[in-house]
Every structure is written in structure tokens, then in C-alpha cells.
């Protein structure tokens, strides 16, 4: 009997102490982990969609900016600013769309002055290789630079983007997401400006 009690006590104490230590380590590393996830997962896309700038948009990013509040539904985005000569010239943020097989995670860069796209990259997707997955290729994403809201339409519908052959649904998913992002930008430009300090 004494043996059993000793076993239970020792194991319980060891587990409790190790658990407490782990939770301490977790709280120390929580912020660095979040930062390195943003840096290595979203970072390359952020740099690619923004124009050349003198700051590090990933270092300067603003987390959880509330852009819109409608009927209790909040639209919250993390915003990556690009500065030139001390002024914020463009911002990047993430938008999501619906592809053929699943969600599309897309990073878009928007010029603050003109409201036009500075770039677009599809970061995460589950599209078919060789068809929808070609949305990640330069031939597709290069078309987006410099487009305004009205231009983000398929070319056979009067816009300026050629769809990917055999992947109309993916193309439309990307276009819809980018367009929604641009609309969101124009609706909440003031809040974005305020958040990145471009007032």
C-alpha cells in the first residue's frame, strides 16, 4: 500500500512540475513563434507583392486592425506597410477566396495613393497541379500588377485578366478574392491609413 501511494505521489509531482515548466516555456516562446510563422510563411509573399521600400514590412506589421464592423461581424486584418522616404506608400494584407477544391490564401499589395494593386500572390491552395495550381505561376500573377477594381475581371468579360486554361473556377476564385480585397481597401482606407500612421 505504501508503495502504491509513493508511486502515485512521485509520478503526480513529476508530471505537475514538468507541466508547469512547459507552460512557462510556452508563454516565453509564444510571441517569437507567432513572429517566425508570419516571417517564413507569409513573409516571402509580402515582400513580393509590395513595391521596393526602405523598411521591413514584416517587422513593422500591425496586427488585428479592425477594418469594418457590421452587425457584430468584424473584419480584422494584419497589415504590412511599405515605407518610402518616411511615408507609407503601400500596404499588403491577406484575403481569402474559394477555389475549386478548397480555400485560397492570397496576399495582395495595394498602393495607398491610387488604390491599385502593386502585386498579388497565391500563398496557400489545394488546387489541381497543372491546372488550378498554375495560379502560383508568374504568367498568371504578373497580370495583376497595376490593376484597379474595375480591371479585376476576366478578359472575356471585359476585364484585364486572362483566366488559366482549364481552371476557370480557380481563376474566378482568385479574382473574386482580390476584388473583395480592393473593395475592402477603398471602403476602409481611412482606418488602414490610421493604423499604419500615414494619416
Amino acid at each position: 500500500m505504501r508503495d502504491i501511494i509513493k508511486m502515485i505521489v512521485v509520478l503526480t509531482v513529476i508530471s505537475t512540475v514538468m507541466g508547469a515548466t512547459l507552460s512557462l516555456v510556452e508563454s516565453i516562446t509564444r510571441e517569437p513563434i507567432k513572429f517566425s510563422k508570419i516571417k517564413f510563411v507569409k513573409g516571402p509573399a509580402v515582400v513580393a507583392v509590395l513595391p521596393e521600400c526602405e523598411n521591413d514590412p514584416i517587422q513593422d506589421y500591425k496586427e488585428g486592425v479592425v477594418l469594418e464592423e457590421k452587425a457584430g461581424q468584424k473584419i480584422i486584418k494584419s497589415i504590412f506597410p511599405a515605407r518610402k522616404n518616411g511615408k507609407c506608400v503601400a500596404v499588403a494584407f491577406e484575403v481569402t477566396g474559394q477555389g475549386f477544391h478548397g480555400p485560397l490564401g492570397i496576399m495582395i499589395g495595394v498602393d495607398l495613393k491610387t488604390g491599385k494593386l502593386t502585386g498579388m500572390r497565391v500563398m496557400t491552395h489545394t488546387e489541381t497541379p497543372g491546372l488550378g495550381a498554375r495560379a502560383t505561376e508568374p504568367a498568371f500573377y504578373k497580370q495583376f500588377s497595376g490593376l484597379g477594381i474595375k480591371d479585376v475581371v476576366l478578359s472575356d468579360q471585359g476585364g484585364k485578366v486572362d483566366a488559366i486554361t482549364g481552371a476557370t473556377i480557380t481563376s474566378q476564385g482568385v479574382l473574386g478574392a482580390v476584388k473583395a480585397g480592393l473593395q475592402l481597401f477603398s471602403r476602409s482606407k481611412d482606418k488602414i491609413m490610421g493604423a499604419v500612421g500615414a494619416g
Binding site: 508511486m7 512521485v10 509520478l11 513529476i14 515548466t21 516555456v25 516562446t29 517569437p32 517566425s36 517564413f40
Partner: protein, 198 residues
């Protein structure tokens, strides 16, 4: 003096993957490049030293019947710590090593040293033993990784390119079968070197 001997034992006499032939899973799986081997080796060393030290401190408190359970709780906690630190400060390495970081928990070297050494010896010797075996493991993994990387990709530590532009990488070496052949060669070399000595 015996502390020093405990340390050097792990570096040559029972160098983990070649002499003890333990911990082969990471030795085969992550040694596609020298820096992966080094990262894996250092992570294992950290866990090995910490768990050896703690188990040695607690060796008189832990009842014999639940010792393995206690060791595993201790080892697993240190492994999760390594995983969190690596995710926070060495994210690229974390992505490359992937599932093999949590698998350090079941690395036989660590439980083996806990059971065979740390549970019977004082703390200083246990730390020395952990450091020795950890460094031995790190050196072995780095050598295997470097060998495979040089032949398979023509680079060293992913940065230094060793051969001219006409080098055709022997990519078989960085694939899984190359790992087995490489390990076999190293085991053979170790046997030749040590024949007559032990």
C-alpha cells in the same frame, strides 16, 4: 577523472549510432544535409543532458516500478521545450526536421542512458555522460549528413559549393536507400578501425 572518462566514452568507445547502434531512425532520416544532422544532434544533446541531470537528481526518489513512466514524462517535456524553442528561433530547421523532433522522445539513446547510467550515478557523471553521448551523436550525424550532402548535392552546410558547374549530383545519396548504404559503410569503417583495440 572518472567524470572525464564518462564524457569521452560517448565520443569514441560507445559513440551512439556507430558503436551502440542506437538512435538509427534520425540517423537515417534527417541526415540529408550536414546542417540538418547538426541541428538534430544538438537538439538530442540538449534533451539528453537535461534528462540525464534531472533523472540523476531524482534517482533515489523515483520508485523502481514507475521509473520508465517517470523517465518518459521527463524526456517528453524536454523534447517539447526543444520543439518550442526551435519553432521560435530556428523555424527553417523546424520545418525540415518536422516529425523527427517529437520523435526524439522515443530515441533509444536517451532512454537507454537514463536507464543504464543516470539512474545509478551522481549528477556530475550523468551530465558528463549526456554531453559525451550527445556530442558523439551530433558528430556522427553531421559526418553522415556531410558525406551524403557532398556526394548527393555537391554542397556543404547548404552554402559552400564544392565542385564546379559541371558536377552532376549523385542524388541517390540524399534519398533513403543512400542513407542505408552510407550508414553501412560507416559501420564497416568503424569496425575496421577498432578491430583489435576493444
Amino acid at each position: 577523472m572518472s567524470v572525464w572518462k564518462d564524457f569521452t566514452d560517448g565520443l569514441w568507445k560507445d559513440i551512439p549510432p556507430f558503436r551502440l547502434v542506437l538512435g538509427l531512425c534520425p540517423t537515417l532520416a534527417v541526415t540529408t544535409a550536414a546542417d540538418n544532422g547538426l541541428g538534430m544532434g544538438l537538439a538530442t544533446t540538449f534533451v539528453l543532458v537535461c534528462s540525464n541531470a534531472l533523472i540523476s537528481i531524482l534517482r533515489k526518489l523515483i520508485p523502481k516500478k514507475v521509473r520508465i513512466a517517470s523517465y518518459i514524462v521527463i524526456i517528453a517535456s524536454f523534447v517539447v521545450m526543444v520543439e518550442l524553442f526551435m519553432q521560435a528561433y530556428f523555424y527553417r530547421l523546424y520545418i525540415i526536421l518536422g516529425i523527427f523532433i517529437p520523435l526524439i522522445v522515443v530515441n533509444c539513446i536517451i532512454l537507454g542512458r537514463a536507464e543504464a547510467f543516470a539512474s545509478k550515478r551522481p549528477i556530475l557523471n550523468s551530465i558528463a555522460d549526456g554531453l559525451g553521448h550527445g556530442f558523439g551523436f551530433t558528430i556522427s550525424l553531421t559526418i553522415v549528413g556531410a558525406f551524403r550532402e557532398i556526394l548527393g548535392a555537391g554542397t556543404l552546410f547548404s552554402k559552400i559549393t564544392l565542385f564546379g558547374p559541371h558536377f552532376m549530383p549523385f542524388s541517390f545519396m540524399v534519398k533513403p536507400p543512400g542513407a542505408f548504404i552510407c550508414l553501412g559503410l560507416f559501420l564497416g569503417i568503424m569496425n575496421i578501425i577498432s578491430r583489435g583495440r576493444v
